[in-house]
């Protein structure tokens, strides 16, 4: 043991674990340093993975050969596809996880990954020579050498917890914060700021009256996160429960506002607008008389439940009094109160698209340290940072994602181009080409690239090739198979659908909103045979084929526009214009261009404060 590695990853949360596994699986000798080896992959907030846009990110991570999808599937106690009533771009997988099992699966994964080493300690200092990172020093006094370092410190940098007026220094409840790194990075010239997030209280199931609440069950079908056919859901499936706050609840909450850290000036940093605390909700939406709460299970062997929608940093007694007024929670017993946490982040415009810092070579940032929120956003960045740290160590080319290729690409481009002014969460509306970034085809978009890189292994690549072949085969059958009215009309009639007067292709019937491939397989035996002959994951093949058929018009048009706009991405800009000398653009635009130093015209166009006119000027100056 010589404490010399290719790559050191600091922090074993969702970003750190994913980064470490990616780097190690690519062949780098990687060290993962965590303050507590019993909390690898800890879910600091709610015990759920995925959701709208986030679920798509997890599918992308899996398609790349990352681990989050596998860990989530194995620890899932409920799985749903959200937004089923909307188009396929919106179908979003989400699961409740058994929190303990999630940590166990992650621990198993990192401890069984070749080239991956573990060390329990706190990193207090980076070793930096000539603007290049060379290793880290720890609280235990160990000096470790590495060619690249990835920081994934989450909420731990100068973390400060707020429970009403009580303030506790820490990175998470009952865990110490981390000091020294922010100060060192600041002295190296990094811009830093503070952010705030929060989490609700956890309660004892034995004190909940579930009969007074509405039950929300999971889906019971083939969907899951991982594209690998070997990964399955293994645990008993559980329900979530829905209840509501009422006027009396709000009255109790209002009594505590004067002691609320958010409203008495104790917390100054910005929290996420889309994930407000319950006290923010009653102040901002004072006319609403009820707010929805989801009561989510924390695990199969646990009595612990999570009150989703009730994030709060009000004093403990206020939280308790307010909860007791909620239907079904009258006799509630708390395990622990909700709290708010403030932590340091670094302006992500200081990063390249590879997540390497512009200032210090081979130093990478991933996760909440970049001002994002969410396990999935963190994991996606971790994966990318892990890949690029490996590439840097072994002379590989930088690896980046396009905005028309993945949500991770949208995420990273937004971060490094626009920066953040509140914790950044992914939404589907952030993607220009939503219909190209569906959950059903992340493998089609990414697995081949990852296979060429060496991250996705042969089993995954073989599955992709099979899926592609089966999909093409099914598609061509459906497009060429002619249906006669006599053959299909009894079926259509039985479904109460308009009958055919002339023959048509099977394809035309699938275009009808009420009909799918499986429906028609009932009436067309050859189609059924075709589907029965798909050996692996037939449902995935059928679903993706059906989407291609039903939405081809939209998909094609989006592709055309993406290609047209992509030409701007192909015009390199970096290093070609001295912005100081361009008088024709506004001072604000000039400063932004100097700060971000965009790679392409396309990226420049997305910088806030850069007007279309500015972009045109840049194009003209490039002599196009």
């Amino acid at each position: 043991m010589d404490f010399k590695y290719d790559i050191i990853v600091v922090g074993a949360g969702h970003a750190g674990c994913e980064a470490a596994c990616a780097a190690a699986n690519l062949g780098s000798k990687t060290l993962l340093i965590t303050m507590d080896m019993n909390k690898i992959g800890q879910m600091s907030c709610n015990p759920a993975v995925g959701g709208i846009a986030k679920g798509q990110i997890v599918r992308e991570i899996d398609a790349m050969g990352g681990q989050m999808g596998i860990v989530t599937d194995r620890s899932a106690i409920q799985f749903r596809i959200l937004n089923r009533s909307k188009g396929p771009a919106m179908w979003s997988p989400r699961s409740q996880s058994d929190r303990k099992r999630f940590i166990e699966e992650w621990t198993k994964t990192v401890s069984n990954t070749p080239n991956l080493y573990l060390w329990q300690d706190t990193v207090t200092e980076l070793i930096v020579e000539n603007d290049e990172v060379k290793g880290v020093k720890t609280l235990l006094g160990v000096t470790m050498k590495a060619q690249a370092v990835i920081l994934t410190n989450g909420t731990f940098l100068n973390g400060l917890l707020h429970f009403g007026k009580t303030q506790i220094i820490g990175g998470r409840i009952s865990e110490p914060a981390s000091f020294g790194l922010t100060e060192q990075l600041k002295s190296l010239g990094f811009a830093t700021g503070r952010m705030k997030t929060g989490t609700p209280c956890r309660v004892d199931a034995r004190s909940i009256n579930f009969d007074a609440m509405a039950e929300q069950k999971g889906d019971d079908d083939f969907h899951k996160f991982s594209y690998l056919d070997t990964v399955k859901r293994e645990l008993k499936q559980m329900s979530c429960w829905i209840t509501y706050t009422n006027e009396q609840t709000h009255e109790e909450l209002r009594k505590g506002l004067k002691d609320s850290p958010l409203y008495n000036g104790q917390i100054k940093s910005i929290g996420p607008r889309y994930c407000p605390s319950i006290e923010t909700k009653i102040v901002t939406f004072a006319d609403k008389t009820a707010h929805q709460l989801f009561i989510e299970p924390e695990g199969v062997d646990s009595q612990e439940y999570y009150i989703n929608g009730f994030s709060s940093s009000l004093p403990l007694q206020i939280q308790l009094n307010a909860l007791k007024t909620v239907k079904g929670l009258e006799n509630i017993q708390l395990y622990r109160p909700g709290y708010a946490i403030e932590y340091d982040f670094f302006d992500p415009t200081q990063l390249l698209h590879t997540l390497e810092t512009k200032r210090i070579k081979n130093l990478f940032f991933a996760g909440q340290i970049n001002g994002t929120t969410g396990y999935e956003e963190a994991a996606g960045q971790g994966l990318l940072a892990g890949i690029n740290a490996h590439q840097n160590c072994h002379g590989g080319a930088p690896f980046t994602f396009g905005r028309n290729e993945s949500y991770i690409g949208v995420l990273v481009d937004d971060l490094v181009t626009k920066g953040v002014d509140e914790p950044y969460r992914m939404f589907t509306s952030r993607a220009e080409y939503r219909i190209l970034l569906r959950q059903d085809d992340a493998d089609m978009r990414l697995t081949e690239r990852s296979y060429k890189l060496g991250l996705a292994k042969t089993d995954r690549y073989q599955l992709l090739l099979q899926k592609k072949e089966k999909q093409a085969d099914l598609l061509s059958f459906i497009q060429n198979y002619s249906v006669k009215p006599a053959q299909i009309n009894p079926f259509l009639e039985s479904r109460g659908l308009a009958e055919l007067r002339f023959g048509c292709k099977l394809n035309d019937l699938i275009l009808r909103p009420q009909l799918g491939i499986y429906d028609l397989a009932e009436a067309v035996p050859e189609l059924k045979t075709k589907i029965d002959n798909i050996e692996t994951q037939p449902e995935e093949v059928v679903e993706s084929t059906e989407i291609i058929i039903k939405y081809s018009g939209y998909i094609d048009r989006e592709k055309q526009i993406a290609e047209k706009l992509h030409r701007l991405e192909d015009i390199p800009l970096k290093g070609r214009i001295d912005y100081q000398k361009v008088n024709s653009i506004s001072t604000e635009a000039r400063q932004k261009l100097i700060k971000i130093d965009p790679e392409t015209i396309g990226q420049a166009a997305r910088i806030p404060g850069i007007s279309p006119n500015d972009v045109n000027i840049l194009i003209v100056l490039l002599g196009r």
Binding site: A53, T428, S429, L568, P612, N613, I619, V620, R624
Partner: protein, 462 residues
Amino acid sequence: MTICAISTPNGTGGIAVIRVSGPDTVSAVSTIFRPKNEAHVLCDRPGYSMTFGSIVQPGTGEAVDEVVVSLFRAPHSFTGEDVVEISCHGSLYIQQEILKLLVQAGCQLARPGEFTQRAFLNGKMDLSQAEAVADVIASTSAAANRLAMNQMRGGFSTELNRLREKLLNFTSLVELELDFSEEEVEFADRGQLQQLADEIHHVIEKLCNSFALGNAIKNGIPVAIVGETNVGKSTLLNLLLNEDRAIVSDIHGTTRDTLEDTVNLNGIQFRFIDTAGIRDTTDAVENMGIERTYQKIEQARIILWLVDCTAVTEHIEWLADRIIRRSEGKKLIIVFNKIDKIEPDERQILEQLFQPYPAERIYISAKKQINTEELTQALIHAAQMPEMSENEVIVTNLRHYEALNKALQSITQVQEGLQGNIPGDLLAQDIRECMHYLGEITGQISTDEILGNIFSKFCIGK
């Protein structure tokens, strides 16, 4: 870099204007300009000033011409840079000589459109305004000029930005429903979205429809001159154009193809289209010409049906059938030519014969130029140009029209989608497309080809 060019048309005129723009404008012009009043040294003169003096050879001091120098100081000039306009006498030699001296003084000859490009680069105008500069220069009628001026001042951009805001509003309502379906927010109901979509559709459609008018204003109102062979169509065209444009002869069917030219009558631009005479013939080439005549009738807004007073036969009904059928919704004027060759009672017969046809009738002689003023008045009246208010936005540019048309298709899809209850993400895609096409006009979404195309369209000096 300081640039210079002759800004007035190529050739000899009363005066000519040479424009200079760039950081060294004043110093460059100073080396070749000697003010009449020695106190009026150019570098001390304020912006918006005119200085009288001579252009001289820097070496010998020999005067080339007496000129007036107008000075505009940055940023208060067309290009946003220091600009000088030298008004000199119009001789080609003088123009070339001054240009040569300017180049010797360190100026560069401007590339096509470079002055406008600089104005654009210096934030003096956006893309659609820059395009309008070309239209202002090329405008041949009062109405066309007014339109182009309106666009140059940004009227069109304002209208589009307003539209964009509406769309942004609409799209945010739809996006909300998508990303926050799991949260407890209230979504816009479909009726409200439908109303908003209808509003947007209405605005885009109005802009699209204005193109027919805008095009007529910019390119001239199309007037087709039709009739049998040898009734004097080409003579009439020449009369209207005041030149021997069409080949005139006594041989039937001389004009076998259509000829067009524009002329400005009373500030209105007309585009006259001479057509091949219509008759029953087996000549394949001539029949092709006749077929094209029918097409031209369809494209025209005004049809002049020319009839030879001296040669009216029962064949006229066959002809009337063909012309009137195609004139629906257009202004038809029957012009009786060679009026000087018939007696008043013959005219009575003609009147009766043509009574059934719904058209205005005018009697002229193209050759002797009788009553031609009455024809001109009828044309101006028929043009019926709607009064344009200063602020009305009318689309004249084909590129804009095409983009608007695509935007109209997208918003129509949005409306259909709302009726068919399609999912919000697909609706959102249609709205985004609509915004994309509108963005193409103002340069919100700019591709380098559009820019290249625009700047290459300008003539030197602008």
